[in-house]
Symmetry: C2
Subunit: 334 residues, 2 copies
């Protein structure tokens, strides 16, 4: 292969994202300058948060642009290094985006070490897992015996949050978009209940699944699930605001939930938005703890692998529709 | 006077509250049993939060009822005491409601001591001032040099919050319902700016008044002001959710602000609802500090006194429409 395939953002979605918003092009493989490293991507991520980056200027992801390579983290093999810190064959995490080859400054690369399968550095040991770890433990602060609700509990972040909450001795309730997925998640993640948020009985089902109320809500979705969860929150409850996936794939975001701010006052609830980057000084600590739980078998990260770079757009569209469980990655080379 | 005048809730408001929702009746003066104290009210409160108690079952104030005396704290003089802790003539704070006489268990009374004018125990040294103190200092956590926004900054809680934030070395911006009131508040409270939230230019005015953004928002109103403030919040900002006065005097509360939860995530904002009762163990500390500030002249509590029990309903209606500055009380006896 002497060409670099790239998937670029061809147009911005005006309503729901489709694979047609992307196109694949071929360009020459880039050449690294002094201090730079040429990387060959093996897996690239398909992350719900990236949809926010296509949606306007309010996101932490910055304003959306067309004609650029779709962004996303990747696991890559060093192909050529002009920096002494890296050698050909090293595995690294880099912000490659959806393409075969990319050039990076040495200091922007994170070398992969340890015994955990490399692909997990896009999931449980990457941004997803770190987000779950700090969001649940530092923002949500669950206590053993309390009830934790996790929306999008089958998602890349949610399926880790749900397991961490079980590890902390909590009653854990998830949400999912179908009865079948709910049943599957209950079994695979060992959850106490998973509620189908698309059911007309969602509110009643959520109430039945949280008989003593909700102490911690880890919110990946916003929207109706947040609105319903607010009414089930216990006094002094904590809501960790992680993402708003219900509002990403649309050009007309819904208004906020009715219970805000009235219910926050009456129940003394704290809602805290957070971004994982604010915890960067503690990533090493978190990765060590997550690795211990993986090695002991207490934490079972799920990787959902799609084959082929050309599949990335559709894999992204399907994920936004709730079609997968675990961290979705696209394998693009061996 | 041998009768006890009472203002009772005659009907629940279906839209805006009016004085006709109340009626005055006369009943015999109650007789205290052993351990009880008969109190003669001198001032009764007219408090925005009490409107929530007329509105449904979601409030901490409980479900609304008709045929009962309108609730509210009072400053009263002990008329007859069947408990050794109190003597005729003692001044107390009690939950008398809108009536001349009431009977209380001795342990439910708070004796008024110290040199501050008794009426301030319904304002700056009562629930209003304590709410301002803990909400701003413990929930808002303002730092010198930061910008604090206070909605309803002329209100019973807001006018104290605004002054405490100035005492902490902050830039303090308030909101009010007219240009005239805004100008008056700026002058009387020494604020850096007060913005008229009813102006069509409110968003632009708020932006101009907060050139470096908002670090702490003390929210007494919810509604549109909260929605606008969210867009001016700085990263890691704190919103102390104290009340929702914009939504009390209506039967059709508005949906929540659009920026929730998206802006909370992007800016890592924390919104915390609180009730002053959760800080009961620290009331003495707060009253001491507030008293020092009053005595030094650094804190100037404003009392807005209306004359006559029969005026209480209209005084309440007018206050909900934003017609006053400071803590509104009704003087009903000397």
């Amino acid at each position: 292969m002497s060409e670099n395939r790239q998937i670029i953002i061809d147009s911005l979605p005006t309503a729901k994202l489709t694979a047609d918003n992307y196109k694949m092009i071929s360009v020459p493989i880039p050449v690294p300058a002094a201090g730079e490293v040429l990387c060959r991507s093996l897996w690239v991520t398909v992350a719900a948060g990236a949809r926010a980056g296509l949606q306007g200027s309010a996101s932490y992801a910055g304003a959306p642009k067309t004609g650029v390579v779709m962004n996303g983290a990747a696991i890559a093999r060093v192909q050529q290094s002009n920096d002494p810190q890296f050698t050909q064959g090293d595995l690294v995490v880099c912000g490659a985006g959806w393409q075969d080859y990319s050039v990076h400054s040495a200091q922007s690369l994170q070398k992969i070490e340890g015994n955990v399968a490399p692909v997990h550095h896009l999931g449980v040991l990457g941004t997803n897992g770190l987000t779950a770890y700090f969001g649940l433990l530092d923002i949500g602060k669950p206590q053993a015996g309390q009830t934790v609700l996790v929306s999008a509990s089958g998602g890349s972040v949610g399926h880790i949050v749900a397991q961490l909450a079980k590890l902390k001795g909590c009653r854990v309730v998830g949400t999912a978009g179908s009865d079948a997925k709910a049943a599957q998640l209950t079994a695979r993640l060992g959850l106490d209940a998973v509620v189908n948020y698309r059911s007309p009985d969602f509110r009643a089902d959520l109430k039945a699944a949280t008989p003593t109320g909700i102490d911690v809500y880890f919110d990946n979705t916003g929207g109706e699930i947040l609105g319903s969860a607010l009414f089930r929150m216990n006094e002094q409850g904590r809501i960790a605001c992680c993402g708003v996936v219900s509002q990403y794939d649309t050009s007309t975001p819904a208004p906020g939930p009715k219970g805000i701010p009235g219910l926050l006052v009456n129940k003394r609830i704290t809602m805290s938005g957070f971004l994982v980057f604010d915890f960067a000084s503690r990533y090493a600590e978190a990765r060590q703890q997550l690795t211990r739980w993986i090695e002991s078998g207490e934490l079972k990260p799920i990787v959902d692998e799609v084959q082929g770079l050309e599949q990335a757009p559709q894999a992204f569209v399907d994920m936004l529709a709730g079609g997968n469980i675990g961290t979705r990655v696209v394998k693009i080379a061996d």
